[in-house]
């Protein structure tokens, strides 16, 4: 099997964000995160629940964009139930970010002023409720474009905003990981600033820092992002995404 490519490194880095989640609703959006969720369940996190991205919780190894009627249905997850799961906390979501800052404040609502934006983007969507109720991971295919000194609009609040709230309001907040085209980041620092957790093969600390307007927190020894195992590569290439949809996210 040929060497892993960047998209496959990113999928494994995202799958790693689900390690230890156990039995909860894993709710990734978009090709790379969906493939990552399905990969995590097929390998080291077998108890995850996943949906067909429509209304059913499904078992087995469905390809991205594959026909859900081929899958075994294990549950019913219409949108109302998804919100109920959000509030129950038994969920880990993966969302995108048009802008994200060093405390994890995320924007995919608008560029410019919220009330009269230069560019209207997706909106707040489910971000305000997701962040404050359960684990969130961000997938950022272009770090240099998204990492920002400040965000124009706070869709998903970051650690600096959350620590201002009452203890009960903070209790379920966690930004587990930010995975980009350059590396994986977390907030496991005393002041909850974004830290380099690992960098993808061939990426230096200097390159990662050059693609960020804020200073990245460093550990003494920055590890390299884990390479996919042969089994993971086989699953990604031949089972979850035989058509290569994942590669389109990097254009």
């Amino acid at each position: 099997m040929s060497e892993p490519t960047l998209d496959e490194i990113c999928i494994v880095a995202l799958a790693e964000a689900f390690r230890g989640d156990g039995e909860l609703l894993c709710n990734p959006m978009g090709p790379v995160p969906v493939i990552a969720g399905r990969l995590a369940r097929a390998t080291f996190e077998p108890d995850l629940m996943l949906t067909d991205t429509i209304a059913y919780a499904i078992e087995g190894n469905l390809a991205f964009g594959g026909d859900p009627s081929d899958a075994v249905v294990e549950g019913y997850m219409p949108f109302r139930s998804i919100f109920d799961q959000v509030w129950s906390g038994k969920r880990h979501v993966v969302m995108g970010a048009s802008q994200i800052d060093r405390y994890g404040n995320q924007n995919f609502a608008a560029i410019g002023q919220y009330r009269k934006p230069k560019a209207q983007l997706l909106g707040l969507r489910g971000a305000p409720g997701n962040l404050i109720n359960h684990a969130t991971t961000y997938w950022v295919p272009n770090q240099a474009r998204a990492f920002s000194e400040t965000v124009d609009v706070v869709s998903g609040p970051g650690y600096d905003r959350i620590i201002e709230l009452a203890p009960a309001s903070q209790a379920h907040f966690e930004i587990r990981r930010v995975v980009t085209d350059l590396g994986a980041y977390d907030f496991e620092t005393p002041d909850h600033t974004m830290r380099i957790r690992s960098l993808h093969p061939g990426v230096s600390v200097e390159q990662a820092q050059a693609a960020s307007p804020f200073e990245l927190t460093l550990t003494d020894d920055v590890p390299e992002s884990r390479a996919p195992t042969p089994q993971e590569l086989e699953l990604i290439r031949n089972v979850f995404d035989p058509k290569g949809v994942r590669k389109g996210e990097f254009r």
Binding site: K118, Q120, P128, R161, I162, S169
Partner: protein
């Protein structure tokens, strides 16, 4: 009833709740009826799709309360986006998607608000001065966001089946929040793909698909293809080609005017259906 009879029950300035979700099972024959009516100054409450885009672009709307506005396969509703960027939609309240559900539920249950943590620390709260917090009377007195009940004058929803009395049945994978819209509306009107005798409901689907009870319904209209171009499974999927044509008109004022004349402002839903059939035949070509 007919679409126009239902429109006769509505008036300018009203708050109109529109069921469905994004570009899914939207009561489009009723949305088009609003478009060609004299109604203005509306407050639209919706998990928005082309309903919100069309009514904003046509200048029918004073305010939108929404959880999102999207065409699903086209993530940003282009007419809504244009209205937001041009600043023509001055008044709007954007809520977290789940918080929007609570506003509907508060209205359905006739309480002034439901509390949630969604919105704390985010622009949802800081950019919406009319949204208030409420202190929990229990525990540590946590401040929660009080999502106000949506005061909906008239709710419009589209069902796969209904009977003449107003019971509604959905046959697709998701009801969305249409039962709450029906309860939240001071008046509620259903369009349905097919009006059937009551004793045929259980031939169409299991009993738990009967989610709209007639006690919340004030009028029914039969509208085959009434959700077009949004999806209405299992009766039909989204008309993606049509939706792309619609989306493209946001970039070109002349194309938008033409599209309105050609499709959206046809005088009746029957005329729209007939034109859809013509289009399907033309695409098939001679055999």
């Amino acid at each position: 009833m007919t679409e126009d009879e239902i429109l006769g029950e509505l008036s300018s300035g009203m708050t109109i709740g529109i069921g469905g979700w994004g570009s899914r099972r939207k009561p489009m024959s009723l949305v088009r009826a609003i478009l060609r009516s004299g109604l203005t100054d509306l407050h639209v409450v919706s998990y928005g799709g082309p309903d919100v885009g069309i009514l904003c672009a046509a200048g029918k709307v004073r305010k939108v309360t929404y959880g999102f506005v999207s065409l699903d396969s086209i993530p940003l509703e282009p007419h809504f986006r244009a209205a937001r960027q041009a600043g023509t939609l001055e008044d709007f309240m954007e809520l977290d998607e789940g918080a929007f559900y609570l506003g509907l539920m508060a209205a359905a249950h006739r309480v002034p608000f439901y509390p949630t943590r969604a919105g704390l620390g985010s622009a949802m709260l800081s950019e919406n001065p009319s949204l208030k917090t409420v202190k929990s009377p229990y525990g540590d007195g946590e401040d929660l966001v009080a999502i106000p009940a949506f005061e909906i004058d008239a709710a419009l929803i589209h069902m796969n089946r209904a009977d003449a009395k107003g019971n509604g049945q959905f046959l697709g994978p998701d009801l969305y929040f249409d039962d709450l819209f029906a309860m939240a509306g001071a008046k509620t009107y259903i369009s349905a793909e097919k009006i059937i005798p009551t004793d045929q409901f259980l031939d169409e689907g299991p009993v738990h698909t009967l989610r709209i009870p007639r006690i919340h319904v004030d009028g029914v209209v039969e509208a085959p293809m009434g959700a077009h171009f949004t999806e209405c499974p299992p009766d039909y999927g989204r008309d993606e080609a049509f939706q792309r044509d619609y989306a493209a008109t946001a970039k070109d004022a002349d194309a938008w005017t033409q599209f309105r004349t050609d499709w959206l402002e046809l005088e009746t839903h029957e005329a729209y259906q007939a034109k859809l059939s013509e289009r399907a035949n033309a695409e098939q070509g001679p055999t």
